[in-house]
Symmetry: C2
Amino acid sequence: MSSASKSSKLRIGKLVVIGVGLIGGSFSLALKKARVVRRVVGVGRTKKNLDTARRLGVIDEASRDAASAVRDADLVLIGTPVGQMPEVMAEIAAELGEATVVTDGGSTKQNVIAHARRFLGAHFERFVPSHPIAGTENSGAASAFAELYRDRNVIMVPQIETKASAVRLVRAAWEACGARIVRLDARQHDEMFAAVSHLPHVVAFALVSMLAKRRDAQTLLGYSGGGLRDTVRIAGSSPEMWRDICMANREALLELLDSYSDELELARGAIESADGEALIEMFRRARTARSRWLLKKA
Amino acid sequence: MSSASKSSKLRIGKLVVIGVGLIGGSFSLALKKARVVRRVVGVGRTKKNLDTARRLGVIDEASRDAASAVRDADLVLIGTPVGQMPEVMAEIAAELGEATVVTDGGSTKQNVIAHARRFLGAHFERFVPSHPIAGTENSGAASAFAELYRDRNVIMVPQIETKASAVRLVRAAWEACGARIVRLDARQHDEMFAAVSHLPHVVAFALVSMLAKRRDAQTLLGYSGGGLRDTVRIAGSSPEMWRDICMANREALLELLDSYSDELELARGAIESADGEALIEMFRRARTARSRWLLKKA
């Protein structure tokens, strides 16, 4: 069965997107473009962002009240920073219908699952934890675009309690967005993404933060080239979202930060003692791993 | 006087490019495209790269002997890693003509100037230290392209001894490549580029090196998204070139590595003690500095 025929079966009458930013807004736009959703209600905290979302056709209706918005919904995507998810879940739990399926777009999974188990109560069996591996450094409804998920992986982490019908709906929705589904264990997910995503973000944020503290920061940055620009692109990401992710995935991240500090210390030692061989060995290891990885991706 | 009319006056009979990689090869291609050079001789250590350079029209002739190649040259560009420059300079000094102008493309300037002063002898007055702020993560003659320097800055660091006529020639050549000239003091240059280029390279190399040491490295990298890809793009750069740069700009780089470690330690402490406020402050500082910088660049 092709993914086109799969998604042609998908019909979502009412989609509610809580947190109409890059992740939630793009989910809505992609499903609208695939013509599989009839009506999208966006829920958010600020009127300004919701107005933007409506004006740009990212959502059809706006609401400031998640609880009333989710009534009669077929699918709810929680697209807020992970730190807000417990509150959102607690708010909507009493109003969720018996058939409403809930999913999320959070970058950490163990904590989101723990919150859902606690706050969604009986509805937990229709909660399908997911994490789309897609994003840009921009945030807000205006940054959303329908193609964000095309050919990207979405990690799905269904639990023992999760109903197969809920998994099918969420899978079909992400596939209608053009994404591929990958299943992972929640713990494995969190450890892997601490390494390939959360650590790199902290590394980039810290690099720009440190440069920004210098009095000559803007002059300095003015002379920089494409290398720095690409290296710190992700330092333009949402501070709130990344604080939440760092807090949520604390243990794995701390361990990786230690490994990274050790590696930097090795580089520092090699530079200080003029040990060119050690330095070139490190740089070669990095270059080789990167090349192999790019080859596989191609 | 427009830059077009400036470069229309420029005529280089014989250009010698020592080290036909991304920097040297692109310099040659750009000057050929601007039709300001008659003949380009490429000097290198490996026959294979020189053959590639000739086949791709990057150079007209190849030589394995720098000393004989520079005879009768109007302009010599030393495009090797900075660690090879003393040897190259010592080799060519005896054969340089009385009118031959020499420049380089090295990413550090204080050490290159010191080497030139020592090894070029009387020819030092026609040596114009320069550093084009352009590059990609690729290396070798095949990575060269004529547009590399278009609208990019080239830092020029002429010394008291440097002849005005030599400065004019080198300036005109870079301008014919489409670049803008910026003058900086050598020490200031090295300190600034330690911050905006050398440190980010070490940061990126160390990040990939550390991930590459894990047994699950390739699986891990397979799940990563665009964030990591951009952050570590520069970890694909030439290990030899970057070893040389790190060694050459050791003092400034060590100081910055310490500041960076301190900043990482701040992030680590905030994560460990669940101090979300401190973390968000750091991330906001980074995001704001990056936005300002991008605004200026636009």
